[in-house]
Structure formats: C-alpha cells, structure tokens
Symmetry: C2
C-alpha cells in the first residue's frame, strides 16, 4: 500500500508528522506532499491561474517530504497528475488540530484533500482532532494518529473498497484508552457563532474581521458531533454528489410558469 | 424581496451586471457585494486569518456596489453578519462564464456563495452559462440572466420555500427562444482532463501548471450535463449534508477489529 499524506496546516505541522509516523507502520511506502503554508478554511481549490512550485523539505524526524505553494487539493492533483510517479493507493489528510464536523466539511482543506482523492478514484481519509476550546500548550496527536492507523488498516483489508470512498474521521482529545470506540456517523449540523468586528486602521479607514466564538454543534444521536460528545471516534462517509433529492421532489411537484420539464429519472 | 448579488469573477464582471439588471425587475431592493478580483475554482472559503476590506464602487451602468477582498462566500458572510443592515431574502451568484456541473460544484466559488447563503438560512441560487469551448469574443449574458430571473421569480412565489434551498442553475448558450425549457436535474459526473505541464523558470528551476483540456461530462439522462446537452436550462437542487448513506451502510455491515459501534440511527 502506497499512502500519500497531506494536510491543510502546512507540511511542518506536528499533526502531519504524527499521522505520517502512524501510517508508516502499515504502508509499504509513504509519500508526503503538503502545502508550504497554512490553508485552513480554504475549501476545495484547483489552482489553474498560476504555476505551482514544489520543493524538497525535511520533517522534524528527518523524513523527506515535498512542500508545494498550492492548496491541499492541489497537492493531491499534483501527485496524481504524475509529480509522484508511483501509483497511490490511499490519500490521508491531517491531522487537523480542530474537529471538522457538520458544515465544516465544505470549508475544510483537510476534508477537501480527501474529496480530491476520490475525484481521482483513490479512497481519501481526513483526520481531525476535537481539541477542547480551552486546551492550551502542546497538542498530543499520538492517540488520534493511532486511531487513524486502525481505521486505515481496517479499510485496506476490506474487499471491494469503493474507489471514491471519502471518510471524515474525527477523534476526541485524550488518551486512546479513554475513547469509547468507533462510530459510523452522519454529518451533523454546525452552529456558527461568527460576529463581524469592525475596526479602523491607522489611517481611519474601516476593516472587518470575521470573529466571534468557536462554532458548536447540534447535539443529535447518530451524528459526527454526537459521537464526539459521547467520547467516540466519529467516522462519516462523504460523497461528492450534492444533489438534494428531497428538494428535487419538492421542485418537481410544483408548477412552473412555462413548464418545468421534469427529468427522466 | 431583497436580493444580494455576488459572484466569483469579480464585481466588475459583465455576468454580474447582467444578473443584477435582470433581478432588479423582480426585487424590491438589490444589493451587490462581490469580490474585487477573480476567485474562480476557489471553493468554499471562510477568511478568518486576516481582516477584510469593503470598498464602494460603481458598475458600468452606474449602479453602486460593494467590492471586498474576500472570497465569494466571505461576501455572503459579511452581508449577513451585518455589513448590509437590511434583511436579505435571497442570494444570487453569477453569472459564471462557464458551466458548473458535476464535481465542479465543490470547487466553484459561484456555487459555494449560494451554499454559504443556505448555511445562514437564506435560499441561494448559482447561475452559470454553458459557453461553448470554441466561443470567442463578447459573451451575451442576456438570455441566461432572463432564464435566472424566471427561476427566481417562480421560486419566490412558492409557499414554504425551504430556507436552505440551494439551486445550481446552468443555462445553455444562445438565444432564449432556442432553449428547450427548464429541467430539474441531479448532479452528474465530470471528467477532468487535466495534465501536468512542467517548465523551467529563467533560473532553471522547475514549476508546474495544471493544464490540459477543458473538462467534459458523462452523458446521462436526468443530470445537469445531460440537460445542457439537450438544450435545456438545468436546475439542480443541492444540499449541505454530504453524508454518503450508501457507504454508511457498506461500513456498518462489516466487522471492525475492536468493533465499530454502529450509530443509533
């Protein structure tokens, strides 16, 4: 198994190092190609309007890695388009220092890197750590990396692993022994608590920060947020088809001036 | 009805002007807040790491507008967070000079602006023009703007319009009379034909372009791509919940070392 490791916090982020070290235990080969700077909340990017650079770099433990000035999804595309000549079997993205749950998934560079993998027909796994808001100091990524390793190891042993499988894995913060287990979940609802902060620059001109409190979630059983709250590792399978079949039905049952012609299926 | 108009090509793009002029005919008030530069293929962005600027500007027809250095989704967030004090009833994004179909929707700034609206509980409509690859010269956005006006006008007259309704509207290129009608569709599959182009800079160092041919689609009845090919305006309702229930079932029926604890529902 050849695993590509990327992230959205930059190639030198400690979360990536922990993840790369964990997957090395189960992969025949691990390649690291990640952004050279932080792309958090950058969404799904395809950089077409400018060229991309890729430089060799060394991680803290001496592992060699590639750093690109592209977005996380660009890194996956670069690898798949031939920058990495060897066939890639799985893409792993993370470990993000904050949970990616609910609506976060469309904003998240960590998750969109896994989605980009699926577009190329490679399973993608995004790994995020649900670090408590009040946690300060060094973050221990070890337990989350081990949880991710177990999920990936299990996944790889399955027959008929779908090529466009995207797993959004969120791990509670704390020792592995204290986790309750693993749960397959659905995407929950985020509650954003953004506030607009208006300030004046030294020249008296206004500028605006999107500030406010960190987002919370709607506590519902079966969701990513619900699983984390109960101490479980949350595993949410995601898809690239965003069609709302509920809304499609709603639209199809109504009359449109001039006539909607309803699709064949 | 108070409509917010935005886009991903920049506030001075002709597609935005055509769309704003069309929706003025049906709205009580139209506010324009759009990026000050092109954000194509930028995905769903929330700019938290730097402040945002918003400047007054005038469109070609003398309409006043706001230009921000944020992404399309930032423009929607800024408006909704209070930069635009009046309540917004609907967000319209476009007109993009190329179709946004299949997997494009997660990359598309045009579509993610409409998705951002839905996160704030406001219906969002993304409008894109399926301009033929070989079309050169001035683009006529008039027919697409009129098609969008009809869809929005119809939508607004419906009882119980879902607050998180996201419509991805793609319009064929050409006169309105030649369009076959409107079709409610599902998201199809894109086929990307990207190629990696490696070049050397004047100092002999390599750089990489994501190049190749423009994407095509898988021709299937009922899809966005299928509708466009048949000459119909495609209307695809999208959702923010990316859970793959098919994959969820696949995962739940398999055994996990240590045991996945399957979610309650």
């Amino acid at each position: 198994m050849h695993i590509l490791v990327t992230n959205d916090d930059g190639v030198h982020a400690p979360g990536l190092l922990a993840l790369a070290q964990a997957v090395k235990k189960i992969a025949d080969k691990v390649t690291i190609l990640a952004p050279d700077h932080n792309w958090s909340a950058s969404g799904h990017v395809k950089t077409l309007h400018r060229p991309l650079r890729v430089e060799k770099t060394l991680l803290e433990d001496g592992t060699s890695a590639w750093a690109s000035d592209g977005a996380p999804s660009d890194c996956v595309a670069l690898a798949q388009l031939g920058f990495i000549p060897e066939k890639i079997d799985l893409v792993v993205s993370g470990i993000n220092p904050n949970a990616n749950i609910g609506h976060d998934v469309t904003y998240s560079g960590t998750v969109t890197a896994a989605m980009e993998a699926a577009i190329w027909g490679i399973p993608g796994v995004a790994v995020s750590l649900d670090r408590p808001e009040d946690h300060t100091g060094l973050i221990d990524y070890g337990p989350a990396a081990e949880a991710a390793r177990r999920v990936i190891n299990w996944l790889w042993q399955q027959d008929g692993l779908p090529e466009d499988m995207v797993l959004n894995v969120n791990v509670p913060y704390g020792p592995l022994e204290e986790m309750k287990g693993f749960r397959i979940t659905r995407q929950g609802l985020r509650i954003y608590r953004d506030e607009l902060v208006r300030r004046l620059d030294p020249r008296g001109k206004p500028y605006y920060w999107i500030g406010g409190d960190t987002p919370i979630g709607v506590e519902e059983p079966g969701t990513d947020y619900g699983a984390l709250l109960s101490g479980f590792v949350s595993i949410t399978p995601l898809q690239l088809d965003l069609t709302s079949h509920g809304m499609k039905h709603w639209l199809e049952t109504r009359d449109f001036e001039g006539g909607f012609s309803v699709s064949e299926n």
